[in-house]
Protein backbone atom coordinates (compact mmCIF):
# COMPACT_ATOMS: atom_id res chain seq x y z
CA UNK A 1 0.00 0.00 0.00
CA UNK A 2 2.84 2.35 0.90
CA UNK A 3 4.55 1.53 -2.36
CA UNK A 4 1.41 2.17 -4.37
CA UNK A 5 1.14 5.60 -2.76
CA UNK A 6 4.86 6.27 -3.40
CA UNK A 7 4.39 5.50 -7.08
CA UNK A 8 1.23 7.59 -7.24
CA UNK A 9 3.05 10.54 -5.66
CA UNK A 10 6.00 10.13 -7.99
CA UNK A 11 3.72 10.16 -11.04
CA UNK A 12 1.81 13.22 -9.86
CA UNK A 13 5.10 14.94 -9.15
CA UNK A 14 6.24 14.09 -12.64
CA UNK A 15 3.12 15.67 -14.16
CA UNK A 16 3.41 18.85 -12.15
CA UNK A 17 7.19 19.36 -12.05
CA UNK A 18 7.35 19.29 -15.82
CA UNK A 19 5.14 21.62 -17.86
CA UNK A 20 2.92 18.69 -18.97
CA UNK A 21 0.10 19.22 -16.48
CA UNK A 22 -0.04 22.99 -16.90
CA UNK A 23 -0.05 22.94 -20.68
CA UNK A 24 -2.58 20.18 -20.65
CA UNK A 25 -5.02 21.74 -18.23
CA UNK A 26 -4.57 25.18 -19.80
CA UNK A 27 -5.27 23.97 -23.33
CA UNK A 28 -8.20 21.91 -22.20
CA UNK A 29 -9.76 24.88 -20.42
CA UNK A 30 -9.28 27.25 -23.34
CA UNK A 31 -10.98 24.77 -25.66
CA UNK A 32 -13.85 23.91 -23.35
CA UNK A 33 -14.47 27.57 -22.47
CA UNK A 34 -14.60 28.52 -26.13
CA UNK A 35 -17.00 25.73 -27.04
CA UNK A 36 -19.15 26.37 -23.97
CA UNK A 37 -19.70 29.89 -25.27
CA UNK A 38 -20.56 28.66 -28.72
CA UNK A 39 -23.00 26.08 -27.34
CA UNK A 40 -24.63 28.59 -25.02
CA UNK A 41 -25.12 31.13 -27.81
CA UNK A 42 -26.56 28.45 -30.06
CA UNK A 43 -29.02 27.19 -27.46
CA UNK A 44 -30.17 30.72 -26.61
CA UNK A 45 -30.85 31.35 -30.28
CA UNK A 46 -32.79 28.10 -30.47
CA UNK A 47 -34.82 29.03 -27.38
CA UNK A 48 -35.91 32.30 -28.98
CA UNK A 49 -36.95 30.48 -32.13
CA UNK A 50 -38.96 28.02 -30.09
CA UNK A 51 -40.67 30.80 -28.20
CA UNK A 52 -41.55 32.58 -31.42
CA UNK A 53 -43.08 29.38 -32.74
CA UNK A 54 -44.91 28.89 -29.44
CA UNK A 55 -46.42 32.36 -29.74
CA UNK A 56 -47.45 31.85 -33.32
CA UNK A 57 -49.04 28.44 -32.89
CA UNK A 58 -50.17 28.79 -29.27
CA UNK A 59 -49.35 26.53 -26.30
CA UNK A 60 -46.24 26.64 -24.12
CA UNK A 61 -42.87 25.63 -25.52
CA UNK A 62 -41.50 22.39 -24.10
CA UNK A 63 -37.91 23.09 -25.15
CA UNK A 64 -35.59 22.29 -22.20
CA UNK A 65 -32.69 24.68 -22.73
CA UNK A 66 -30.42 23.64 -19.80
CA UNK A 67 -30.72 19.99 -20.80
CA UNK A 68 -29.78 20.89 -24.36
CA UNK A 69 -26.69 22.77 -23.17
CA UNK A 70 -25.63 19.86 -21.00
CA UNK A 71 -26.10 17.31 -23.76
CA UNK A 72 -24.03 19.35 -26.19
CA UNK A 73 -21.38 20.18 -23.62
CA UNK A 74 -20.91 16.59 -22.47
CA UNK A 75 -20.85 15.53 -26.10
CA UNK A 76 -18.04 18.01 -26.64
CA UNK A 77 -16.16 16.80 -23.55
CA UNK A 78 -16.29 13.23 -24.81
CA UNK A 79 -14.70 14.31 -28.11
CA UNK A 80 -11.92 16.19 -26.34
CA UNK A 81 -11.32 13.18 -24.09
CA UNK A 82 -10.64 11.11 -27.18
CA UNK A 83 -7.83 13.48 -28.16
CA UNK A 84 -6.39 14.20 -24.74
CA UNK A 85 -6.18 10.78 -23.08
CA UNK A 86 -3.66 9.23 -25.53
CA UNK A 87 -1.24 12.08 -24.80
CA UNK A 88 -1.79 11.69 -21.08
CA UNK A 89 -0.88 8.00 -21.07
CA UNK A 90 1.70 7.75 -23.86
CA UNK A 91 4.69 8.16 -21.56
CA UNK A 92 3.44 6.18 -18.58
CA UNK A 93 5.51 3.08 -19.29
CA UNK A 94 7.28 4.01 -22.50
CA UNK A 95 9.36 6.67 -20.75
CA UNK A 96 10.07 4.45 -17.77
CA UNK A 97 11.41 1.72 -20.00
CA UNK A 98 13.52 4.07 -22.07
CA UNK A 99 15.18 5.58 -19.00
CA UNK A 100 15.85 2.19 -17.45
CA UNK A 101 13.90 3.08 -14.33
CA UNK A 102 11.62 0.11 -14.95
CA UNK A 103 14.57 -1.96 -13.76
CA UNK A 104 14.52 -0.08 -10.45
CA UNK A 105 10.79 -0.61 -9.96
CA UNK A 106 10.95 -4.26 -10.90
CA UNK A 107 13.83 -5.06 -8.57
CA UNK A 108 12.14 -3.30 -5.65
CA UNK A 109 9.72 -5.06 -3.33
CA UNK A 110 6.75 -3.69 -5.25
CA UNK A 111 4.17 -5.85 -7.01
CA UNK A 112 3.23 -5.26 -10.63
CA UNK A 113 -0.32 -4.46 -9.52
CA UNK A 114 0.97 -1.69 -7.24
CA UNK A 115 3.03 -0.21 -10.08
CA UNK A 116 0.12 -0.34 -12.52
CA UNK A 117 -2.53 0.96 -10.12
CA UNK A 118 -0.29 3.74 -8.81
CA UNK A 119 0.31 4.98 -12.32
CA UNK A 120 -3.29 4.53 -13.41
CA UNK A 121 -4.72 6.40 -10.43
CA UNK A 122 -2.26 9.24 -11.03
CA UNK A 123 -3.35 9.65 -14.65
CA UNK A 124 -6.99 9.48 -13.56
CA UNK A 125 -6.37 12.16 -10.93
CA UNK A 126 -4.78 14.48 -13.45
CA UNK A 127 -7.72 13.87 -15.75
CA UNK A 128 -10.17 14.72 -12.94
CA UNK A 129 -8.19 17.86 -12.12
CA UNK A 130 -8.41 18.85 -15.74
CA UNK A 131 -12.21 18.43 -15.73
CA UNK A 132 -12.82 20.14 -12.41
CA UNK A 133 -12.68 23.79 -13.59
CA UNK A 134 -15.17 23.08 -16.38
CA UNK A 135 -17.77 22.31 -13.71
CA UNK A 136 -17.80 26.01 -12.92
CA UNK A 137 -19.33 26.75 -16.35
CA UNK A 138 -22.05 24.20 -15.74
CA UNK A 139 -22.75 25.37 -12.21
CA UNK A 140 -23.01 28.92 -13.51
CA UNK A 141 -25.53 27.81 -16.10
CA UNK A 142 -27.59 25.78 -13.64
CA UNK A 143 -27.75 28.68 -11.17
CA UNK A 144 -29.05 31.02 -13.87
CA UNK A 145 -31.65 28.68 -15.31
CA UNK A 146 -35.33 28.96 -14.54
CA UNK A 147 -36.65 26.40 -13.71
CA UNK A 148 -33.40 25.06 -12.31
CA UNK A 149 -32.44 21.57 -13.62
CA UNK A 150 -31.67 18.97 -10.94
CA UNK A 151 -28.04 18.81 -9.77
CA UNK A 152 -28.15 15.06 -10.21
CA UNK A 153 -28.17 15.61 -13.96
CA UNK A 154 -24.88 17.46 -13.76
CA UNK A 155 -23.41 14.82 -11.46
CA UNK A 156 -24.43 12.04 -13.84
CA UNK A 157 -22.81 13.88 -16.73
CA UNK A 158 -19.50 14.21 -14.91
CA UNK A 159 -19.65 10.63 -13.70
CA UNK A 160 -19.98 9.70 -17.36
CA UNK A 161 -16.94 11.73 -18.44
CA UNK A 162 -14.86 10.28 -15.63
CA UNK A 163 -15.84 6.72 -16.54
CA UNK A 164 -15.26 7.31 -20.23
CA UNK A 165 -11.91 8.97 -19.56
CA UNK A 166 -11.00 6.29 -17.04
CA UNK A 167 -11.66 3.61 -19.65
CA UNK A 168 -9.55 5.27 -22.31
CA UNK A 169 -6.76 5.92 -19.79
CA UNK A 170 -6.73 2.23 -18.89
CA UNK A 171 -6.54 1.37 -22.57
CA UNK A 172 -3.77 3.94 -23.10
CA UNK A 173 -1.71 2.62 -20.18
CA UNK A 174 -1.89 -0.85 -21.61
CA UNK A 175 -0.71 0.32 -25.03
CA UNK A 176 2.10 2.32 -23.42
CA UNK A 177 3.30 -0.81 -21.62
CA UNK A 178 3.77 -2.52 -24.97
CA UNK A 179 6.25 -0.12 -26.57
CA UNK A 180 9.25 2.01 -25.73
CA UNK A 181 8.19 4.63 -28.23
CA UNK A 182 5.88 7.34 -26.95
CA UNK A 183 4.67 8.42 -30.36
CA UNK A 184 3.65 4.89 -31.27
CA UNK A 185 1.89 4.59 -27.91
CA UNK A 186 -0.10 7.78 -28.54
CA UNK A 187 -1.08 6.95 -32.12
CA UNK A 188 -2.08 3.36 -31.37
CA UNK A 189 -4.09 4.45 -28.32
CA UNK A 190 -5.89 7.05 -30.38
CA UNK A 191 -6.68 4.58 -33.15
CA UNK A 192 -7.86 1.92 -30.71
CA UNK A 193 -10.05 4.44 -28.84
CA UNK A 194 -11.56 5.62 -32.07
CA UNK A 195 -12.26 2.05 -33.09
CA UNK A 196 -14.09 1.23 -29.86
CA UNK A 197 -15.88 4.55 -30.26
CA UNK A 198 -17.42 3.79 -33.63
CA UNK A 199 -18.39 0.20 -32.87
CA UNK A 200 -22.01 1.36 -32.70
CA UNK A 201 -21.89 2.31 -36.34
CA UNK A 202 -24.68 -0.13 -37.15
CA UNK A 203 -27.02 1.35 -34.58
CA UNK A 204 -29.86 1.57 -37.08
CA UNK A 205 -29.83 -2.04 -38.17
CA UNK A 206 -31.48 -4.48 -35.81
CA UNK A 207 -29.42 -7.62 -36.27
CA UNK A 208 -28.09 -9.41 -33.17
CA UNK A 209 -24.50 -8.52 -34.01
CA UNK A 210 -25.29 -4.86 -34.15
CA UNK A 211 -26.85 -5.02 -30.67
CA UNK A 212 -23.65 -6.60 -29.32
CA UNK A 213 -21.45 -4.05 -31.05
CA UNK A 214 -23.58 -1.24 -29.71
CA UNK A 215 -23.17 -2.55 -26.21
CA UNK A 216 -19.40 -2.69 -26.68
CA UNK A 217 -19.04 0.85 -27.93
CA UNK A 218 -17.67 3.22 -25.29
CA UNK A 219 -19.76 6.12 -26.46
CA UNK A 220 -23.17 4.39 -26.40
CA UNK A 221 -23.10 4.17 -22.62
CA UNK A 222 -21.84 7.68 -22.32
CA UNK A 223 -24.93 9.09 -23.97
CA UNK A 224 -27.11 7.87 -21.08
CA UNK A 225 -24.93 9.69 -18.60
CA UNK A 226 -25.03 12.87 -20.67
CA UNK A 227 -28.81 12.73 -20.49
CA UNK A 228 -28.61 12.45 -16.72
CA UNK A 229 -29.38 8.74 -16.54
CA UNK A 230 -27.16 6.36 -14.62
CA UNK A 231 -27.75 2.90 -15.96
CA UNK A 232 -26.39 -0.12 -14.08
CA UNK A 233 -25.44 -1.88 -17.29
CA UNK A 234 -23.32 1.13 -18.27
CA UNK A 235 -21.62 1.15 -14.88
CA UNK A 236 -20.83 -2.54 -15.31
CA UNK A 237 -19.59 -1.88 -18.83
CA UNK A 238 -17.10 0.82 -17.79
CA UNK A 239 -16.11 -1.06 -14.65
CA UNK A 240 -15.29 -4.20 -16.63
CA UNK A 241 -13.53 -2.20 -19.33
CA UNK A 242 -11.20 -0.56 -16.79
CA UNK A 243 -10.64 -3.80 -14.86
CA UNK A 244 -9.81 -5.67 -18.06
CA UNK A 245 -7.20 -3.18 -19.22
CA UNK A 246 -5.66 -2.78 -15.77
CA UNK A 247 -5.34 -6.56 -15.66
CA UNK A 248 -3.83 -6.68 -19.16
CA UNK A 249 -1.35 -3.97 -18.19
CA UNK A 250 -0.29 -5.95 -15.12
CA UNK A 251 0.28 -9.00 -17.31
CA UNK A 252 2.18 -6.93 -19.85
CA UNK A 253 4.43 -5.36 -17.20
CA UNK A 254 5.04 -8.79 -15.72
CA UNK A 255 5.95 -10.19 -19.13
CA UNK A 256 8.68 -7.57 -19.56
CA UNK A 257 10.82 -9.83 -17.39
CA UNK A 258 10.62 -12.51 -20.02
CA UNK A 259 10.80 -10.29 -23.05
CA UNK A 260 13.93 -8.36 -22.18
CA UNK A 261 16.82 -9.42 -24.32
Amino acid sequence: MGSLYAIYRKEMGHYFVSPIAYIFIGLFLVLTAFFFNVILAEVIKQTFQMEMQGMRFGGPSDFDAPAAVMRSFFGLLSTLVLFFTPILTMGVYAEERKRGTMELLMTSPVSELEIVLGKYLASLSLFALMLLPTASYMIFMVLHSDPRPPWSMLAAGYAGVLLLGGSLLALGSFVSSLTENQLIAAVVTFAASLFIWVLDIGRNSDSGASAVLQYLSVIRHYEDFARGVIDTSSLIYYGSFIALFVFLTVRSVDSMRWRRA
Binding site: A6, G100, S111
Partner: protein
Protein backbone atom coordinates in the same frame (compact mmCIF):
# COMPACT_ATOMS: atom_id res chain seq x y z
CA UNK B 1 25.06 -15.27 1.58
CA UNK B 2 24.64 -15.83 -2.14
CA UNK B 3 24.60 -19.27 -3.69
CA UNK B 4 24.37 -19.69 -7.42
CA UNK B 5 23.87 -23.20 -8.73
CA UNK B 6 24.04 -24.17 -12.38
CA UNK B 7 22.49 -20.90 -13.52
CA UNK B 8 21.62 -20.76 -17.22
CA UNK B 9 19.87 -18.09 -19.22
CA UNK B 10 19.09 -18.44 -22.90
CA UNK B 11 17.52 -15.95 -25.24
CA UNK B 12 16.23 -18.14 -28.00
CA UNK B 13 19.29 -19.81 -29.48
CA UNK B 14 21.78 -17.59 -27.67
CA UNK B 15 23.00 -18.74 -24.26
CA UNK B 16 24.01 -15.65 -22.31
CA UNK B 17 24.82 -17.47 -19.09
CA UNK B 18 25.89 -21.08 -19.27
CA UNK B 19 25.75 -23.28 -16.14
CA UNK B 20 27.31 -20.78 -13.81
CA UNK B 21 27.88 -21.73 -10.16
CA UNK B 22 29.57 -19.74 -7.42
CA UNK B 23 29.02 -18.60 -3.86
CA UNK B 24 29.64 -15.35 -2.08
CA UNK B 25 30.29 -15.31 1.67
CA UNK B 26 28.84 -12.77 4.03
CA UNK B 27 30.74 -9.51 4.09
CA UNK B 28 32.79 -10.38 1.05
CA UNK B 29 33.39 -8.32 -2.10
CA UNK B 30 33.15 -10.46 -5.20
CA UNK B 31 34.38 -9.10 -8.50
CA UNK B 32 32.70 -10.17 -11.68
CA UNK B 33 35.21 -9.79 -14.44
CA UNK B 34 34.71 -10.32 -18.12
CA UNK B 35 34.67 -8.66 -21.50
CA UNK B 36 31.54 -6.86 -22.63
CA UNK B 37 28.77 -9.29 -23.45
CA UNK B 38 30.20 -12.05 -21.26
CA UNK B 39 26.99 -12.46 -19.26
CA UNK B 40 27.80 -10.29 -16.24
CA UNK B 41 24.72 -8.11 -16.51
CA UNK B 42 22.42 -11.06 -17.18
CA UNK B 43 23.68 -12.89 -14.09
CA UNK B 44 23.15 -9.77 -11.98
CA UNK B 45 19.67 -9.26 -13.35
CA UNK B 46 18.74 -12.81 -12.39
CA UNK B 47 20.14 -12.32 -8.88
CA UNK B 48 18.13 -9.13 -8.39
CA UNK B 49 14.89 -10.77 -9.54
CA UNK B 50 14.63 -8.63 -12.65
CA UNK B 51 14.47 -11.65 -14.93
CA UNK B 52 14.02 -15.36 -14.35
CA UNK B 53 16.68 -17.94 -15.17
CA UNK B 54 16.08 -20.56 -17.81
CA UNK B 55 17.64 -23.21 -15.63
CA UNK B 56 19.37 -23.51 -12.27
CA UNK B 57 18.82 -21.75 -8.96
CA UNK B 58 20.14 -18.74 -7.14
CA UNK B 59 19.61 -18.02 -3.46
CA UNK B 60 20.21 -14.77 -1.65
CA UNK B 61 20.24 -14.88 2.15
CA UNK B 62 18.55 -18.28 1.92
CA UNK B 63 15.69 -17.08 -0.31
CA UNK B 64 15.20 -18.31 -3.83
CA UNK B 65 15.40 -15.36 -6.24
CA UNK B 66 12.43 -16.58 -8.23
CA UNK B 67 10.05 -18.09 -5.69
CA UNK B 68 10.71 -15.65 -2.83
CA UNK B 69 11.46 -12.74 -5.10
CA UNK B 70 9.97 -10.10 -2.78
CA UNK B 71 12.11 -11.28 0.17
CA UNK B 72 15.20 -11.15 -2.00
CA UNK B 73 14.37 -7.72 -3.41
CA UNK B 74 13.96 -6.34 0.12
CA UNK B 75 17.54 -7.41 0.89
CA UNK B 76 19.25 -6.21 -2.29
CA UNK B 77 20.47 -2.82 -3.38
CA UNK B 78 21.09 -2.76 -7.09
CA UNK B 79 22.79 -0.34 -9.41
CA UNK B 80 22.04 -1.32 -13.03
CA UNK B 81 24.36 -0.45 -15.93
CA UNK B 82 22.65 2.91 -16.35
CA UNK B 83 21.72 4.68 -13.13
CA UNK B 84 17.91 4.34 -12.92
CA UNK B 85 17.18 7.98 -12.08
CA UNK B 86 14.27 10.30 -12.82
CA UNK B 87 15.67 13.49 -14.38
CA UNK B 88 12.82 15.68 -13.12
CA UNK B 89 13.37 14.82 -9.46
CA UNK B 90 15.82 16.34 -7.05
CA UNK B 91 18.42 14.04 -5.55
CA UNK B 92 16.62 14.08 -2.22
CA UNK B 93 13.08 13.44 -3.49
CA UNK B 94 14.45 10.66 -5.64
CA UNK B 95 16.13 8.95 -2.70
CA UNK B 96 12.96 9.44 -0.67
CA UNK B 97 10.98 7.74 -3.42
CA UNK B 98 13.41 4.82 -3.56
CA UNK B 99 13.37 4.52 0.24
CA UNK B 100 9.57 4.33 0.14
CA UNK B 101 9.38 1.62 -2.50
CA UNK B 102 12.09 -0.31 -0.65
CA UNK B 103 9.83 -0.29 2.43
CA UNK B 104 12.04 1.87 4.67
CA UNK B 105 9.76 2.91 7.57
CA UNK B 106 8.87 6.61 7.63
CA UNK B 107 10.76 7.35 10.86
CA UNK B 108 14.01 5.91 9.53
CA UNK B 109 13.83 7.53 6.09
CA UNK B 110 15.47 10.93 6.77
CA UNK B 111 18.40 9.29 8.54
CA UNK B 112 18.85 6.70 5.79
CA UNK B 113 18.75 9.36 3.08
CA UNK B 114 21.32 11.48 4.91
CA UNK B 115 23.54 8.45 5.32
CA UNK B 116 23.37 7.55 1.62
CA UNK B 117 24.08 11.17 0.64
CA UNK B 118 27.05 11.34 3.01
CA UNK B 119 28.58 8.08 1.81
CA UNK B 120 28.39 9.14 -1.82
CA UNK B 121 29.49 12.74 -1.15
CA UNK B 122 26.29 14.20 -2.48
CA UNK B 123 25.28 16.29 0.52
CA UNK B 124 25.76 19.61 -1.26
CA UNK B 125 23.75 18.42 -4.28
CA UNK B 126 20.72 17.14 -2.40
CA UNK B 127 18.26 19.73 -3.70
CA UNK B 128 19.58 19.79 -7.24
CA UNK B 129 17.54 18.37 -10.11
CA UNK B 130 19.06 15.12 -11.32
CA UNK B 131 18.96 16.24 -14.95
CA UNK B 132 21.35 19.10 -14.08
CA UNK B 133 23.97 16.71 -12.71
CA UNK B 134 26.99 15.47 -14.66
CA UNK B 135 27.41 11.82 -15.62
CA UNK B 136 29.64 11.17 -12.64
CA UNK B 137 27.18 12.67 -10.19
CA UNK B 138 24.30 10.72 -11.70
CA UNK B 139 26.34 7.59 -11.19
CA UNK B 140 26.78 8.53 -7.55
CA UNK B 141 23.06 9.08 -7.19
CA UNK B 142 22.68 5.59 -8.61
CA UNK B 143 25.00 4.22 -5.94
CA UNK B 144 23.23 6.21 -3.20
CA UNK B 145 19.98 4.65 -4.38
CA UNK B 146 21.44 1.17 -3.91
CA UNK B 147 22.47 2.00 -0.33
CA UNK B 148 19.45 3.92 0.90
CA UNK B 149 17.63 0.97 2.47
CA UNK B 150 20.80 -0.41 4.06
CA UNK B 151 20.54 -3.73 2.21
CA UNK B 152 22.41 -6.88 3.19
CA UNK B 153 23.51 -7.44 -0.39
CA UNK B 154 24.66 -4.76 -2.81
CA UNK B 155 24.96 -5.52 -6.50
CA UNK B 156 26.75 -2.95 -8.63
CA UNK B 157 26.93 -3.26 -12.40
CA UNK B 158 30.04 -1.39 -13.54
CA UNK B 159 29.95 1.17 -10.72
CA UNK B 160 32.89 3.26 -11.92
CA UNK B 161 31.87 3.74 -15.54
CA UNK B 162 31.74 7.40 -16.51
CA UNK B 163 33.62 8.67 -13.49
CA UNK B 164 36.82 10.68 -13.54
CA UNK B 165 39.96 9.21 -11.93
CA UNK B 166 39.41 10.99 -8.63
CA UNK B 167 35.82 9.85 -8.42
CA UNK B 168 36.85 6.30 -9.32
CA UNK B 169 39.17 6.22 -6.33
CA UNK B 170 36.39 7.59 -4.11
CA UNK B 171 33.93 4.98 -5.29
CA UNK B 172 36.45 2.18 -4.79
CA UNK B 173 37.13 3.37 -1.27
CA UNK B 174 33.41 3.58 -0.64
CA UNK B 175 32.91 0.02 -1.83
CA UNK B 176 35.74 -1.22 0.36
CA UNK B 177 34.28 0.59 3.37
CA UNK B 178 30.92 -1.09 2.78
CA UNK B 179 32.37 -4.61 2.93
CA UNK B 180 31.91 -6.41 6.21
CA UNK B 181 28.47 -5.00 6.88
CA UNK B 182 27.29 -5.73 3.36
CA UNK B 183 27.94 -8.48 0.89
CA UNK B 184 28.90 -6.96 -2.43
CA UNK B 185 29.03 -8.15 -6.01
CA UNK B 186 30.45 -5.75 -8.54
CA UNK B 187 31.04 -6.25 -12.20
CA UNK B 188 33.70 -4.60 -14.25
CA UNK B 189 35.82 -5.02 -17.30
CA UNK B 190 38.57 -2.93 -15.75
CA UNK B 191 41.16 -5.27 -14.30
CA UNK B 192 42.96 -3.10 -11.75
CA UNK B 193 39.58 -2.45 -10.19
CA UNK B 194 39.29 -6.09 -9.26
CA UNK B 195 42.74 -6.44 -7.74
CA UNK B 196 42.20 -3.22 -5.82
CA UNK B 197 38.77 -3.80 -4.34
CA UNK B 198 37.75 -7.43 -4.44
CA UNK B 199 38.32 -10.34 -2.09
CA UNK B 200 37.55 -12.84 -4.79
CA UNK B 201 37.18 -12.76 -8.55
CA UNK B 202 34.92 -14.65 -10.90
CA UNK B 203 36.23 -14.45 -14.42
CA UNK B 204 33.43 -15.02 -16.88
CA UNK B 205 33.66 -15.30 -20.63
CA UNK B 206 30.97 -16.18 -23.17
CA UNK B 207 28.60 -17.05 -20.35
CA UNK B 208 30.97 -19.57 -18.73
CA UNK B 209 33.10 -19.23 -15.66
CA UNK B 210 36.77 -19.29 -16.58
CA UNK B 211 38.19 -19.00 -13.06
CA UNK B 212 37.19 -18.27 -9.47
CA UNK B 213 39.87 -17.31 -6.98
CA UNK B 214 41.44 -14.49 -5.02
CA UNK B 215 43.29 -11.93 -7.10
CA UNK B 216 46.56 -12.95 -5.37
CA UNK B 217 46.12 -16.65 -6.12
CA UNK B 218 45.19 -15.99 -9.70
CA UNK B 219 48.29 -13.91 -10.13
CA UNK B 220 50.68 -16.40 -8.53
CA UNK B 221 49.03 -19.46 -10.04
CA UNK B 222 49.54 -18.16 -13.52
CA UNK B 223 52.86 -16.57 -12.85
CA UNK B 224 54.52 -19.59 -14.45
CA UNK B 225 57.60 -17.90 -15.67
CA UNK B 226 59.04 -14.57 -14.83
CA UNK B 227 59.53 -11.68 -17.15
CA UNK B 228 62.65 -9.56 -16.93
CA UNK B 229 62.81 -6.10 -18.28
CA UNK B 230 66.17 -4.58 -19.14
CA UNK B 231 67.12 -1.17 -20.39
CA UNK B 232 70.49 -1.18 -22.00
CA UNK B 233 72.09 0.44 -25.02
CA UNK B 234 73.86 -2.70 -26.20
CA UNK B 235 74.21 -3.53 -29.91
CA UNK B 236 71.34 -5.82 -30.83
CA UNK B 237 73.15 -8.81 -32.36
CA UNK B 238 75.74 -9.44 -29.63
CA UNK B 239 73.04 -8.88 -27.03
CA UNK B 240 70.85 -11.60 -28.51
CA UNK B 241 73.81 -13.99 -28.70
CA UNK B 242 74.69 -13.29 -25.13
CA UNK B 243 71.14 -13.89 -23.88
CA UNK B 244 70.88 -17.07 -25.91
CA UNK B 245 73.77 -18.50 -23.95
CA UNK B 246 72.05 -18.00 -20.60
CA UNK B 247 70.19 -21.19 -19.68
CA UNK B 248 66.44 -20.69 -19.09
CA UNK B 249 66.16 -17.44 -21.01
CA UNK B 250 63.65 -17.41 -23.83
CA UNK B 251 61.46 -15.17 -25.93
CA UNK B 252 63.73 -12.19 -26.21
CA UNK B 253 61.96 -9.07 -27.42
CA UNK B 254 63.99 -5.99 -28.23
CA UNK B 255 62.32 -2.62 -28.66
CA UNK B 256 64.54 0.02 -30.25
CA UNK B 257 65.25 3.15 -28.23
CA UNK B 258 62.79 5.99 -28.55
CA UNK B 259 63.92 9.60 -28.64
CA UNK B 260 65.71 10.39 -25.38
CA UNK B 261 65.20 6.85 -24.07
CA UNK B 262 66.99 3.58 -24.11
CA UNK B 263 66.61 0.29 -25.85
CA UNK B 264 64.20 -1.94 -23.91
CA UNK B 265 64.56 -5.69 -23.77
CA UNK B 266 62.15 -8.25 -22.31
CA UNK B 267 63.23 -11.77 -21.58
CA UNK B 268 61.17 -14.59 -20.16
CA UNK B 269 62.75 -16.96 -17.72
CA UNK B 270 61.61 -20.43 -16.69
CA UNK B 271 60.00 -20.71 -13.27
CA UNK B 272 62.28 -21.05 -10.26
CA UNK B 273 65.29 -19.97 -12.23
CA UNK B 274 66.38 -16.48 -11.34
CA UNK B 275 68.70 -15.34 -14.08
CA UNK B 276 68.74 -11.65 -13.29
CA UNK B 277 72.18 -11.76 -11.70
CA UNK B 278 73.64 -13.66 -14.66
CA UNK B 279 72.26 -11.16 -17.13
CA UNK B 280 73.57 -8.23 -15.11
CA UNK B 281 77.02 -9.83 -14.84
CA UNK B 282 77.21 -10.50 -18.59
CA UNK B 283 76.16 -6.99 -19.54
CA UNK B 284 78.75 -5.49 -17.24
CA UNK B 285 81.33 -7.96 -18.58
CA UNK B 286 80.69 -6.70 -22.12
CA UNK B 287 80.99 -3.14 -20.92
CA UNK B 288 77.47 -2.17 -22.12
CA UNK B 289 75.68 0.60 -20.30
CA UNK B 290 72.92 -0.81 -18.06
CA UNK B 291 70.16 1.54 -16.96
CA UNK B 292 67.52 -0.74 -15.55
CA UNK B 293 66.88 -4.38 -14.80
CA UNK B 294 63.83 -5.72 -12.98
CA UNK B 295 61.52 -8.69 -12.80
CA UNK B 296 57.88 -8.30 -13.80
CA UNK B 297 55.26 -10.73 -12.54
CA UNK B 298 52.34 -11.47 -14.81
CA UNK B 299 49.51 -9.06 -14.03
CA UNK B 300 45.83 -9.86 -13.81
CA UNK B 301 45.67 -8.35 -17.24
CA UNK B 302 47.81 -11.14 -18.68
CA UNK B 303 45.81 -13.78 -16.85
CA UNK B 304 42.60 -12.29 -18.04
CA UNK B 305 43.74 -12.26 -21.62
CA UNK B 306 45.04 -15.78 -21.31
CA UNK B 307 41.71 -17.02 -19.96
CA UNK B 308 39.38 -15.09 -22.20
CA UNK B 309 41.08 -14.80 -25.55
CA UNK B 310 41.46 -17.90 -27.63
CA UNK B 311 43.96 -16.19 -29.90
CA UNK B 312 46.27 -15.28 -27.08
CA UNK B 313 46.25 -18.80 -25.72
CA UNK B 314 47.00 -20.10 -29.16
CA UNK B 315 49.88 -17.74 -29.72
CA UNK B 316 51.34 -18.69 -26.36
CA UNK B 317 51.15 -22.39 -27.10
CA UNK B 318 52.76 -22.19 -30.51
CA UNK B 319 55.75 -20.08 -29.49
Amino acid sequence: MIEVQDLTKSYGAVTAVDHVSFTVNKGEILGFLGPNGAGKTTTMRILTGYMPATHGTARVAGFDVFRDSMEVRRRIGYLPENPPVYPDMTVETYLDFVARIKNVPAERRPARIDDALRKTNLEDRRSELIKRLSRGYKQRVGIAQALVHDPEVIILDEPTVGLDPKQIIEVRNLIKSLAGNHTIILSTHILPEVSMTCDRVVIINKGKIAAVDTPQNLTSQLKGGQKIRIETDAPEKPLRDMLAQIPGASRVVIEPARAGGHQAVTVEAAQGNDIRNQIAAKIVEHGWPLYELHGVSLSLEDIFLELTTDDAAHAQASS
